[in-house]
Amino acid sequence: MKNNYYDPQDLKKFGSISDWQPELGDKFFAYYNSVFAEGELSAREKSLIALAVSHVVQCPYCIDAYTKDGLQKGIEKEEMMEAIHVGAAIKSGAALVHGVQMMNRHDQLSM
């Protein structure tokens, strides 16, 4: 075992997850490719969504992949950063909105 959990080279081996479970792996990759094809949303829009979500789930592989994908699609760095803020806003909002739960519980338990 190497002394780091993440290796950039592992991203290139993503496909190998099918080796140990081909049926599910193949289904996943077919699904994945369909999701990112041009549809009602453009491949460009999907790439920005993917970049934002990559940050929310904090996946270094996805951040690497969708930064490169964005560059290839002509997405500008300002657009990328705005997309990340959308993800960050939802993530912080999701944390903060639970404040209401805290307030409810607080008031219920307090005299």
Partner: protein, 353 residues
């Protein structure tokens, strides 16, 4: 990276083709981490590559240019003095008269800077059966100096097909790659060409753009980028053009310098190798194009010209041109060829697969 001079005038070791080739053959290709281009072709039963029908004669009129773009595979610039002589231009004309050449593709440097440029184009039109004359124009040259101001009208008169590079439809990326002010001037030049009828929908005056990535990544989908470019240029500047060609940066000359300086070289080569597309390998441009250098030598393509890899034939100069001998050859390949076969492939006419 803002170098205002060519590798050659900076005395950079990469100015020497031999140094570039040594580097390209070393590292991951020498220690077996990556397969060489010929090994890859063999894997897919695509090699060796041989020419098909010769259709395009790409003539490099010289390495002088008014720009010094960071990615330039020619290492062109104002300080480059190599230029085609009148007698070599005559040799090119006589090949066009004796053989069926469909397209002549004039490149450089900035081909318009050649003092015989107008004479040569007029001669091709008047004395040969060449159907299409392409000029690879960097756009800014059209505004650079009064002596070039007649060029749009000259292009119209000679039905020249204009292909222009534009790295992006916004200022920042364009200027970073091509130099400050280039974007604004390019927009003005495109508007000028549009006003002459170039690039308008249904106009026979063809105006195409070339996009190449501003960095160590591959170009995206050609069709999608064309749609984005068309929308942006029309909305922001009222500009029309016909097609967008996406071109992959090949790891040679100043782009190689950039890859090394930014420590992207190995990753970029790996990206190219992994994106190898056998379909693109069958259609690489050297199969229907021949490149002539400013000094009259023959090459499989403009990239091989810059690496000084002459065609593998007993005839390797335009002066002694013999179609049969020239066509009966294997194409000279190297690791840089991976740039032509990655993803949707890349050629002077854009993607090929």
């Amino acid at each position: 990276m803002k170098n205002k001079k060519s590798l050659l005038s900076r005395g950079n070791r990469l100015a020497a083709p031999k140094a570039q080739l040594a580097l390209l053959n070393d590292g991951p290709f020498a220690d077996g981490r990556l397969p060489t281009f010929t090994e890859k072709l063999d894997q897919y039963n695509c090699g060796p590559l041989r020419p098909k029908l010769l259709e395009i004669l790409q003539i490099n009129l010289g390495y002088m240019c008014n720009q010094v773009c960071a990615h330039c595979h020619v290492d062109a610039g104002p300080d480059r003095k190599e230029i085609m002589t009148r007698s070599t231009l005559e040799d090119c004309l006589s090949v066009m008269r004796q053989h069926t050449i469909v397209t002549v593709d004039l490149t450089g440097g900035a081909p318009e800077m050649h003092p015989d440029f107008r004479w040569f184009v007029t001669q091709i039109r008047a004395t040969t059966a060449v159907k299409e004359i392409i000029v690879r124009s960097n756009l800014t040259i059209l505004l650079a100096n009064k002596k070039f101001h007649d060029l749009p009208d000259f292009f119209v008169k000679n039905k020249v097909h204009v292909i222009s590079s534009l790295p992006f439809y916004k200022k920042n990326k364009t200027d970073r790659q091509r130099g400050d002010g280039v974007f604004q001037q390019s927009m003005e030049a495109l508007q000028l060409l549009n006003n002459k009828g170039y690039g308008r929908p249904d106009s026979p005056l063809l105006l195409d753009l070339v996009y190449n990535p501003s960095g160590a990544f591959l170009p995206g989908d050609q069709q999608a980028l064309e749609t984005d470019f068309k929308r942006a240029l029309k909305t922001d500047f009222g500009i029309d053009f016909h097609h967008l060609f996406t071109i992959t940066n090949l790891p040679i000359s100043r782009f190689l310098e950039y890859l090394l300086a930014s420590e992207n070289y190995e990753e970029y080569m790996q990206t190219l190798v992994e994106a190898f597309n056998p379909l693109a390998a069958k259609n690489v441009m050297c199969t229907n194009t021949l490149s002539v250098s400013w000094d009259g030598h023959l090459y499989d393509c403009d990239f091989n010209q810059m690496l000084q890899l002459k065609i593998s034939s007993s005839v390797d100069h335009i002066h002694n041109f013999e179609l049969g001998k020239v066509q009966d050859r294997s194409i000279v390949l190297g690791q840089h060829c991976y740039g032509c076969t990655a993803g949707a492939g890349s050629s002077c006419q854009g993607s090929i697969a």
